[in-house]
């Protein structure tokens, strides 16, 4: 017991060291009576006790050099540090011949004690000295040979400071030699991120790489430009004209134009004029920039479709470009070999202020294959379908994408159709205006509206199905509604909805599964209509994943398996008898030890 008391006593003294050992100037807490503040030059510190040796001759930069013989503040004295104001470098003396206000070192003021006149001294007008400070509570006893002080900083925290007079540390002495050779090196070594000028010139490369902008040349003006693919930009989706097309990047963009005064801009706006999309030459390789007179490096743009310039006829602006399709044939590093462009044109009414949506489509394809393999559409996957790619259907020998009907702005059925994407459930509807009274004609028209002009008979099992090989396709199951269900002479039994059900599943490796269509079914819902002007039609497609997942590969549990995130890394205890007997030993052992410990305490 006595030992314990001794230990407690030691702890007590360690926790309250002030009682045991005197700390420098910790007791001299009396406030300085005469000096209200030393000003911002000394960070607002109030000197509580000072050491000797502050009245040394002034140094060049106002840093007092104190000899190492001056020992610490063992005998604290309450006095104000009043530095003589005249400094060799007075940074606040900005108006010569006049006393600058609050500039305590200004000789024009002729003040011996400027703080009696000024409310504070500007930073830099008092002698500055280099103090290295730490929190006072950290210092138990100072045996430093340098003068030390305890300051009160602006937050009221006492700081213990040592006056260091190491000339190497206190002055900016080393100057870097800067000349033309090391200018950039120094800027790079010491500089970080900074503003840079936007223009960076680079020499033209020998050939285009994927994603490079394509260069064009306007011979009549001798101007080099970029092949543009205007794209919608910002929240408004307005056309950014100068968006460049990337080499080998086949893609389509859409943007919107609004016209305030179409009557004048119809013929003047170059974006509406087809000629502005082919009236130039494309450079085969960027190197062609160097020799613009050499026609070998230039490829003319050939127009495939019939085009005419925009014409203002009455209230309509005719031949306005609504779609531009570039087909560019490339040959590796030899660059662009052939460029052809086709247009779709439309007519716009001048009043009220119209808007136009323009589509820009770029196709890149290899030079040789273009003639050999005609008209094979892109694959929807190789071999398995990719989600979002078109679902392929076959009628006769014609392969095409399966489509759903689509409605126009006024709700009636549109000629445009929505392409069914693999894996994406979709639903659409429209109203069909009934033109014919003949029931069988009406039925035929509605069937055509529901499944498109071609009636899909086969569906591609994989995304790369070849129309010539019929084993790659599976027949679409159909369930038509029974027409002769009712004995009704005046009414007509017509299909009103088509549901396309596609069952698909994954095949192949689990790490690289390939989606394939197992089967598809067309379900028609019928209804009898009597003398109706409009028939609402609906088409929908549903994809059902019928993949049977294989059993996860799991072996017998082993002894060295550990539970995830286990702190004690106990062995896994499975239900197997031997394993559980073996593996539950350590926890039981620890539990027993714990219990023994508790019992031991009790019996003591």
């Amino acid at each position: 017991m006595c030992r314990l008391q001794l230990v407690l006593l030691q702890v007590f003294f360690l926790m309250f060291p002030e009682n045991a050992q005197p700390q420098p100037s910790s007791s001299s807490s009396a406030a300085v009576p005469t000096s209200p503040d030393l000003g911002p030059g000394t960070l607002g510190w109030t000197v509580q006790s000072s050491s000797e040796g502050t009245a040394t001759p002034p140094d060049v930069l106002g840093i007092s050099t104190v000899g190492p013989t001056l020992v610490t503040s063992s005998a604290p004295r309450n006095r104000t540090v009043e530095v003589f104001p005249v400094l060799p470098v007075c940074i606040c003396d900005l108006t010569p011949g006049t006393c600058d206000i609050n500039c305590c070192c200004d000789r024009d003021c002729y003040l011996l004690h400027p703080r009696t006149v000024f409310s504070f001294c500007l930073p830099g007008s008092l002698r500055s000295s280099s103090w290295v400070c730490v929190d006072n509570s950290l210092i138990f006893r100072s045996n430093s040979p340098f003068p030390s002080r305890v300051f009160m900083d602006s937050n009221g925290i006492r700081q213990f400071c040592v006056h260091a007079n190491n000339s190497k540390l206190n002055y900016f002495q080393k100057l870097q030699e800067v000349n033309a050779t090391n200018f950039q090196a120094l800027a790079a070594e010491f500089g970080g991120e900074s503003f840079t000028s936007a223009f960076q010139t680079q020499s033209p490369s020998a050939f285009y790489r994927a994603g490079d902008p394509i260069l064009t040349y306007f011979p009549q003006w001798s101007v080099i430009s970029l092949l543009r693919q205007p794209a919608g930009v910002g929240a408004g989706g307005l056309c950014a004209e100068s968006n460049p097309a990337g080499f080998l990047e086949s893609k389509s963009t859409t943007c919107t134009r609004f016209f305030k005064n179409l009557a004048s801009s119809c013929t003047l706006d170059s974006a509406l004029n087809a000629a502005s999309y082919y009236d130039f030459a494309v450079l085969k390789v960027p190197r062609g920039m160097a020799d613009l007179q050499n026609m070998e490096f230039q490829v003319p743009v050939t127009v495939v479709s019939q085009v005419g310039p925009p014409v203002l006829a009455g209230n309509t602006c005719q031949n306005v470009v609504s779609q531009v399709t570039y087909e560019i044939e490339t040959n590796g590093t030899f660059g662009i070999q052939k460029v052809s462009v086709s247009f779709e044109q439309t007519n716009l009414t001048v009043e009220p202020s119209p808007s136009l949506q323009q589509h820009f489509i770029f196709y890149f394809r290899p030079f040789q294959q273009s003639t050999a393999a005609p008209l094979t559409g892109p694959r929807s996957g190789n071999p398995g379908y990719i989600v979002g790619k078109p679902l392929l259907a076959l009628t006769g020998d014609i392969s095409y994408s399966m489509t759903l009907l689509q409605s126009q702005g006024n709700g009636t059925c549109s000629v445009k159709r929505h392409v069914v994407q693999f894996g994406v459930n979709a639903m659409s509807g429209c109203k069909l205006r009934v033109k014919t009274a003949n029931c069988s004609h009406l039925q035929q028209e509605i069937y055509q509206t529901l499944h498109g002009s071609l009636r899909p008979e086969l569906i591609a099992i994989f995304g790369n199905a070849d129309p010539a090989q019929k084993e790659g396709w599976t027949r679409i199951l159909r369930r038509s509604c029974s027409v002769s269900a009712k004995n009704c002479t005046s009414c007509c039994f017509i299909p009103v909805s088509l549901e396309i059900q596609v069952l698909w599943s994954f095949l192949g490796l689990q790490s690289n599964p390939q989606a394939h269509v197992s089967s598809a079914r067309f379900l028609y819902q019928c209804q009898s209509v009597e003398d109706s002007q409009e028939v609402p039609l609906t088409t929908l497609v549903n994809f059902v994943d019928i993949t049977q997942k294989p059993e996860p590969p799991r072996g017998q549990p082993r002894m060295d398996w550990k539970l995830p995130f286990d702190f004690f890394s106990f062995k896994v205890a499975f239900s197997r008898a031997i394993d559980s007997q073996k593996s539950s030993v350590p926890p039981i052992l620890i539990l027993c030890l714990l219990l023994l410990g508790v019992l031991n305490l009790e019996t003591n």
């Binding site: 989706g237 119209p354 808007s355 709700g411 929505h418 894996g423 979709a426 659409s428």
Partner: protein, 315 residues
């Protein structure tokens, strides 16, 4: 031959005193101070009587392919276009019905059998004179939790967004978050809210009124909300272009709270015993000190081995 200490055991020592003596009182006091303060310490440090706890689970969410859309037209007041997957609602709309093209896809990104997000795209065809300023959209989901109680509910994501300028596209990218007003039960099957959000079989207009749907939905204690602070509107629709709503709704892992009934004694016991062990040790030392130094008067019995003469004294 040097001798080594091979074995040792403490020697029991008895102290005898009357039942009404100071020593007995001291022992009583010490026992009280040993066993009651740990209880107070554990209780005051909060979390002693845990009433509820929580667990994490990714819900099994499936989009039910039920959509109700109301598009608010402007700038003339009162213009509305509507559509839903409910035929009765569509019949009620008359001229205001506009059938959009809807495409949806649910995606299981990590192949764990639970859907992770829904891609929803709706293209509403518009005439050139129609301008959409606001959208109200309801999507319904079946929402299931399995880890503690089997909780099955039909919930909805309600999106209402408007913009001052006629829009062309609305992009939503948010989470379908679970909102609990009360904890779910510890076990069992919970199908309280396995009722459809919208009564699609009803022919009455009031059943499709958004205020009624939302009011009935908010009566539930467990709901889901679509958490997307910033739907993005794009403006500048060309005359023939449709209005597009493009939404990505994620099904995140939820923290679900559940009540603790019989389990709370376990947590309390663990806390109590861990503090009690320290008190037992300290008071054991104090008792030994008190009795050894005869702070309270007792008659020390001689040191004796276990169970030999001890019984005779008792008898």
């Amino acid at each position: 031959m040097a001798l080594h200490e091979l074995f040792s055991h403490p020697v029991e020592r008895g102290y005898r005193a009357g039942l009404c003596s100071k020593a007995a009182l001291f022992l009583l006091l010490a026992a009280a101070l040993t066993y009651i303060p740990p209880l107070l310490v554990a209780f005051r440090s909060h979390g002693f009587w845990l009433k509820r706890s929580s667990y994490e689970e990714q819900p099994t969410v499936r989009f039910q392919h039920q959509v109700l859309l109301v598009a608010l037209l402007g700038p003339e007041p009162g213009g509305v276009l509507a559509w839903s997957t409910f035929p009765a609602f569509n019949r009620l709309q008359g001229d205001r019905l506009r059938v959009p093209l809807v495409s949806t896809r649910e995606e299981d990104r990590n192949q764990d059998g639970k859907m992770d997000r829904l891609h929803f795209k709706l293209e509403l065809p518009l005439q050139s004179t129609e301008h959409i300023l606001g959208v109200q959209l309801i999507l319904t989901f079946s929402y299931q939790l399995h880890r503690m109680s089997t909780f099955v509910m039909q919930s909805m994501a309600f999106l209402q967004s408007s913009f001052a300028v006629p829009g062309s596209q609305l992009h939503v990218n948010g989470d379908l978050r679970l909102q609990q007003r009360q904890p779910l039960s510890y076990g069992g099957l919970d199908v309280r809210y396995n009722v459809s959000v919208i009564n699609g079989t009803s022919p009455f207009a009031c059943d499709y009124d958004l205020t009624h749907i939302v009011a009935a939905y908010q009566e539930r204690n467990v709901t889901t909300i679509l958490d997307d602070p910033n739907p993005i509107w794009l403006v500048g629709r060309a005359a023939e272009a449709p209005f597009v709503i493009d939404a990505v709704i994620r099904y995140p892992v939820e923290v679900i709270s559940y009540p603790l009934h019989e389990r709370m004694i376990k947590f309390a016991w663990v806390q109590y015993v861990s503090i009690l062990l320290i008190f037992l040790w300290v008071f054991e030392r104090i008792k030994i000190f008190v009795f050894q130094n005869q702070v309270v008067t007792t008659v020390p019995a001689n040191a004796m081995p276990h169970g030999e003469v001890y019984k005779e004294h008792l008898s």
